[in-house]
């Protein structure tokens, strides 16, 4: 077996997979200021992120995580947990899978959906911190609604795809990867696509 064949991921992914940082070993023993859990085991992945916060500075002082997920989820959340230490809450809230990917080097394209759980769980943890600390006004309601749970595709992205020219479910899938896992969202997504096409191009 050649070296190239030996590992399909970057060295950094491999390192974080082999030596994951900031794993939360015992949730009961950790005094978290905010906890976020997303995903579920039936779909094959689940992520828990806990944070400690310096309330005066408004920064994250510690971040730990736990997952039932694949190598990509492990590596990307491990990297995320290092990135957010010392980071202002607002900045951490805006982190996207793209930022994590930039830090991590690349993942195989079909594995990118595995890595969205970490930042989602982080946002849930930050919201939880605000809610616990009497600042519900800071809790950001996700404006977009997730239509495809597996690939984390929102109604917003469907609208964008419609604007970019997607007209069929297949074209929608090509752009967003929506419905490529369990396929349960096909009907809803097709209806939404029709609505958005009507809204922007109907006549």
């Amino acid at each position: 077996m050649s070296q190239a064949a030996a590992w399909a991921y970057s060295e950094k992914v491999k390192d974080h997979f082999m030596h994951p940082r900031n794993v939360l070993e015992d949730p009961d023993a950790y005094a978290a200021d905010g906890t976020g859990v997303v995903g579920n085991i039936k779909c094959g992945d689940e992520m828990m992120v806990v944070i400690r916060v310096d309330g005066e500075k408004g920064t994250i002082t510690d971040c730990k995580w736990k997952t039932y997920g694949c190598a990509s989820a492990i590596a990307s959340t491990s990297v995320l947990s290092e990135m957010v230490k010392g980071m202002p809450l607002d900045e951490a809230y805006r982190l996207s899978p793209k930022d994590i990917m930039a830090e991590l080097g690349s993942l195989p394209e079909h594995k990118i959906h595995c890595s969205v759980l970490g930042d989602k769980a982080l946002r849930a943890a930050i919201n939880d911190y605000y809610a616990r600390n009497g600042r519900p006004e800071k809790v950001v309601e996700e404006e977009a609604r997730v239509v495809c749970q597996c690939m984390n595709v929102t109604d917003r992205e469907i609208e964008d795809a419609a604007l970019e020219g997607a007209r069929t479910f297949y074209e929608l899938q090509e752009r967003t990867k929506l419905g490529t896992v369990c396929g349960q969202c096909e009907e809803e997504a097709t209806d939404l696509l029709r609505e958005y096409v009507e809204k922007h191009f109907g006549g």
């Binding site: 590992w7 085991i41 039932y68 694949c70 492990i74 595995c114």
Partner: protein
């Protein structure tokens, strides 16, 4: 990269047997078209015919009942497609029946073909299995209708190794006037498979699962049963599969079949022992495990095990980094998080299905390999469980 490399994924594919490699290297010199009448052609035809004898011998068929095709998947597609053909007046069509009865745990090349035929209006029934992956004869019986043209049930399952009562199911099919096909890709070369003894009409096998090359399969077609080619336009394979023969691949298949006939019996006993030691070792060293598949009606080389609270792909990749190659039932690597359809059909929950790995032994594996796995696996499972939300909840 670790030095040690242990291959435990023989149900996915097998390395070439050294004798197969030799036979194929020699066949590289032979370039003639087996259909040509001149000496070059006759030389090639002789090689193909010799291979046909060996493959026929391995499954107890007559040589003229063996059709070489491009893969096991092609053989399976051929049988389903031709038997469900609605043409009434076609010279090769059978009874005019079109219905198909198959099972929920077949390989995707059967399942997807059957679903496609169903979309075209052909009645298809998927019979379920019990918790060990066994098909009940009564369930097959209940699925039969006067429309049923074909019953197709795999001999051994690729993921859990469960072996079906093929003789019994064939009897049910025939009693209802239907033909019977078995996908024996995972059984041929591992356990004795005799087409006359089982009384099957069609049987699929593949070279690369028995230490032969990729890209060659064989379909046994019983003398006298209706047949129509999937790939038309040539008289090769007695008009049953057009396209110039893959001579070198077929030679490899023939040699692999010959070697299987010699080595299979003793090897089966050896692999059963490896499996028993591995299974017992896992039970002793790792808590919260469940073994999937039938405890006795199983091919000797396959062990499928679920670990509570872990995701199979993570275990696979940690083992890969330790030089151990196994497989998962779930196909996360191919972009899908769907758990194994086979395990779900046996009634296990999604978590047990996601947490499964398949270990499939082969002719080069030794007790030392088992010892290495037993040294490595507990730590990998422990490491994965320390990270796991699911295992934390479970042990809380």
């Amino acid at each position: 990269m670790v030095e040690k490399q242990i291959y435990l994924d023989h149900n996915a594919t097998t390395p070439l047997h050294p004798e197969v490699q030799k036979a194929m290297s020699a066949a590289l010199e032979v370039f003639g078209n087996p259909s040509s009448l001149h000496g070059f052609g006759r030389e090639a035809k002789q090689l193909v015919d010799g291979a046909r004898d060996n493959v026929a011998h391995l499954v107890g068929a007559a040589p003229e009942e063996i059709v070489f095709v491009g893969s096991g998947s092609e053989a399976n597609n051929t049988v389903l497609s031709i038997l469900a053909c609605p043409a009434q007046h076609c010279a090769t069509s059978g009874t005019g029946r079109t219905g198909i009865v198959t099972t929920a745990i077949e390989h995707p090349c059967i399942l997807e073909t059957a679903k496609c035929l169903r979309d075209r209006g052909i009645p298809v029934t998927f019979v379920g299995v019990d918790r060990h992956g066994k098909v009940a004869l009564d369930d097959v019986e209940a699925a039969m209708t006067p429309e049923t043209a074909l019953v197709s049930v795999m001999t051994a399952n690729n993921e859990i190794g469960t072996v079906q009562d093929i003789k019994g199911i064939a009897e049910v099919a025939h009693r209802h006037g239907a033909l019977f096909h078995t996908d024996a890709v995972q059984a041929v070369g591992k356990i004795p498979v005799e087409v006359r003894e089982l009384d099957v009409d069609f049987l699929t096998c593949s070279a690369h699962k028995i230490y032969g090359p990729k890209g060659v399969g064989a379909l046994y077609v019983k003398k006298g049963v209706p047949f129509c080619p999937l790939i038309r336009g040539g008289h090769q394979e007695r008009g049953r599969r057009a396209g110039t023969e893959n001579t070198i691949g077929i030679v490899g298949f023939g040699k692999a079949a010959e070697m299987r006939a010699q080595e299979m019996g003793e090897e089966a006993r050896r692999l059963l022992e490896l499996k028993a030691v591995l299974r017992q070792g896992i039970e002793e060293r790792i808590a919260d495990v469940a073994f999937n598949g039938h405890p006795t009606d199983c091919v000797p080389n396959t062990l499928n095990v679920s670990f509570d609270g872990v995701e199979g792909e993570t275990v696979l990749l940690y083992l890969d980094l330790e030089g151990i190659a196994v497989s998962t039932g779930s196909a996360c690597a191919s972009g899908s998080l769907d758990p194994s359809h086979v395990l779900l059909a046996t009634g296990v929950g999604p978590e047990q299905a996601h947490g499964s790995i398949r270990i499939s032994f082969g002719r080069e594996n030794t007790m030392a390999d088992v010892a290495y796995v037993l040294d490595t696996l507990p730590e990998v499972i422990e490491r994965t469980r320390r990270m796991s939300t699911a295992y934390a909840r479970r042990s809380a």
